[in-house]
Amino acid sequence: MKASRDNLRRSALAGLGILLGLWALSFATSAVWPAALGRCPFGYDVLRPDSTVCELAIGGLWVSLSIGIAAGAVATLFGLLVAMAARAAGGVLEEGSIRLADAFFALPDVLILMVLQFAAQTLADVHPALKVAPAPLMIASLAAVGWSGPARMFRNRFATLEAQDFIAASKALGAGRPFLLRRHLWPAMRGYLLAILVARIPAAILAESTVSFFGIAKVEPMSLGRYLGTSYSSLLYPSGARIVVPAWILLVLVVLGATLSAQGAALDRE
């Protein structure tokens, strides 16, 4: 049992190492030392012949990771706030807010994302003063899409924790809600929160790449998702796979890192 926990802990550290390492490598090679990616085994991009495949794929990774982390953090925090408010209000309000989360959760991320991007772009076309930069707009859209799952999970977790004997004992001793939250609930929620946040990162990157593939979002500087989304036509050329495969591998590594880290965070929860 202990060996299995140690293995999980090691895997979680490896996952975190993969995520941080990829972000640092991507940021350092694109922002600090761009010449490092000038020589690339995959050659130059077909659609952007002045850049190598490595420059575009690795250079876009930190943008995607930053968007994924920011969107994941905003969505998770908003979900937490909704869950806390719902639990505090109780009754019809709690039921109503969870039904609203259900309505959001029932629809595909990509569908809501397309509608939100569509709405924001239409608004910006007519009122240029209301135009939001593509990256913050994407973060806001992804957060608006991603809050419902965490809200439901946090609400259920709060309900489970609040039904435990130690909470009842603490309440009987006169503990108020802020004390319960700080002393008992928050320590039990920390790992869970981290697991949910990390799990949102690849989901956000994938959703962004799919929306970019449809040509609806144009994140600048170019993210990994947008690079993947806009490079699809290169697959029609002979040996075009060399353009897409490196970005694909990076995406798989991000998912692997996030999955391993989330497992570690879940271990902390236990």
Binding site: A103, A106, T122, T210, F214, I216, V255, T259
Partner: protein, 294 residues
């Protein structure tokens, strides 16, 4: 039974919420596109747009539906859609989705068998396969397959679309299945049944499977959502003229009335899946039946 009705009611409540939410969002948007904002829009175009969406009318949100039921074309004449065409597109997507669901179940079983095997190879594969499946946007395998199948006809593009959208949900189901089976196998009642001399196959069939099925049923909703989300990209890549393609084109061409109707249809489709799940649950989960009895 009341609990089942409550669950069904919750599923159905999503449809009007989505219908109203999407309508209000679209109706609140100012009229115009990038090109339109540079010139004055003719008043008759503005009036036609407002009429199409029923903006400013009591119960205006019903206007796009009214047009559909009258057999009128929704959206601009060239890219618009009639109710009959919409139904045909929905049935096309549902057909691809059903095929994808069957394939997803096949992947799930195959992955569950792989994960249940011992050995470091199986363990590494058990971690790598989900990472590859969840880290791959649907459009990448679709594009890799497209040159070989897009023009082939004979339902090959539909089959290829079902194949690429089923991979990730299938692996998700497989992981869920393995975890649920492992959890059940470690329970006391299994040890008791085995200790009393029941054959392992019988224990699995008579005790473990009925307890695992409800967990699998819970995941059908998210899997259906994932399949529909995947159909947007797959239908576009393989050139399938179904519902996902219609939706993406409507968004790109800012066909607002179609966006409103199609979003609601998606919600209704998912609610229908939810209803089917609840009905199946009534048959396979004795706890659901027992919960309704006095």
């Amino acid at each position: 039974m009341p609990r089942t009705f409550a669950r069904i009611g919750r599923q159905l409540a999503v449809v009007p919420i989505v219908a109203l939410g999407s309508y209000l969002l679209i109706a609140a948007l100012p009229l115009g596109a990038e090109e339109d904002s540079k010139r004055q829009l003719p008043p008759e175009l503005v009036a036609s747009y407002r009429r199409d969406l029923g903006i400013g009318e009591p119960l205006g949100f019903l206007r796009p539906w009214q047009k559909l039921f009258r057999g009128e074309r929704l959206g601009t004449s060239a890219q618009g859609v009639t109710g009959e065409e919409l139904l045909r597109k929905i049935s096309g997507s549902v057909g691809v989705g059903s095929l994808a669901m069957a394939l997803a179940l096949t992947w799930a079983l195959a992955f569950a068998v792989l994960r249940s095997r011992r050995g470091s190879g199986a363990r590494v594969m058990g971690k790598m396969i989900p990472a590859i499946a969840f880290g791959t946007p649907v459009f990448i395998p679709a594009l890799l397959l497209a040159p070989y199948v897009a023009e082939a006809g004979h339902w090959l593009p539909e089959l290829a679309a079902a194949l690429v959208i089923s991979a990730s949900p299938g692996i998700f189901l497989g992981a869920l299945l393995t975890d649920a089976v492992r959890a059940e196998l470690s329970r006391d009642y299994v040890r008791t049944a085995l200790g009393k001399g029941l054959a392992p196959g019988s224990v699995f069939r008579r005790h473990v499977v009925p307890n695992v099925l409800p967990a699998l049923l819970d995941s059908v909703g998210p899997v259906a959502t994932a399949l529909l989300a995947g159909s947007f990209a797959a239908e576009r890549v393989f050139g399938l003229p179904y519902f996902g393609q219609l939706y993406v084109v409507a968004v790109l061409q800012k066909q607002v009335a179609i966006v409103v109707v199609a979003t609601t249809c998606f919600a209704a489709l998912l609610a229908a899946v939810g209803l089917c799940v609840e009905l199946v649950r009534l048959f396979v989960d004795p706890r659901t039946r027992a919960a309704g009895q006095p």
